[in-house]
Symmetry: C2
Subunit: 119 residues, 2 copies
DNA sequence: TTCAATACTTACCTTGAGGTAAGTATTGAA
DNA sequence: TTCAATACTTACCTCAAGGTAAGTATTGAA
């Protein structure tokens, strides 16, 4: 497995949480799954413009391993796999709430301060 | 400047917050400054075992630029520089609270599940 | 037998975050 | 004049995260 050794000894709670949420697309995957409840691989891919299949599957696998995401395979043709959040995934998303609000306020502040880029 | 182009257009609040907090030592710097109120460069360095001077100063500069950290220079010999959190830095730290608690719970859960590594 | 549709998988490459270690700047004291 | 003490600064290197693009697996329908 490429995405190996994690769950290291953590120096604080933030550290432990970051270990699980750091990764370019993870917080967005979390949001998509929380928002839609259940999403297929292809739906997630379309919902995250710019993500590569490699990174999407890699992040999903890590999140599954970390107990955040549930993976349900339907033995059909064509193949169908549904992803959803576990209880841990949902609680993580909740814990990210205040951070998201802070970021929202920051973005608004930046937009207000923004010097108009006039050529 | 090496640590350039940030403040990109964000796709959500988490994204905006992560832009500011991602960096190996940033959440720890945040914690140290929140905990002590004011810290000198050398004190921070000693408080973050393993950090390199290059990364410490780079992170501090970025956080100053992002309005999280205040830098106060005392024209003395030997030189003395004190770092502290701004209001934004303090509110970010608050917003990180729930995430830290989540991580704490996760760490406890992992410790409970941990298979004893017996040689 | 070939194709369609979906979900991966693999090999290879690029980029940037972060580390290492040595050097610079400042100036009062000895 | 040299040194001590602190806060950087710079050049160079390593490694892993992430991107690209092509290939594989599955199986019912035509």
């Amino acid at each position: 497995m490429t995405s190996s050794e994690r769950r290291g000894p953590y120096i604080c709670g933030i550290d432990a949480a970051m270990d699980v949420v750091s990764g370019k697309w993870k917080s967005l995957i979390l949001w998509e799954l929380d928002n839609y409840g259940t999403r297929r691989f292809g739906e997630l891919k379309r919902g995250l413009p710019g993500v590569s299949e490699k990174m999407l599957i890699q992040h999903l696998r890590e999140m599954e391993q970390d107990g955040l995401v549930h993976r349900e395979v339907y033995r059909e043709v064509p193949p169908k796999v549904e992803y959803s959040l576990t209880e841990h995934g949902r609680s993580l998303n909740e814990a990210l709430g205040p951070l998201g609000e802070w970021g929202q306020r920051r973005a608004e502040r930046l937009a207000a301060e923004a010097p108009t880029v006039s050529p």
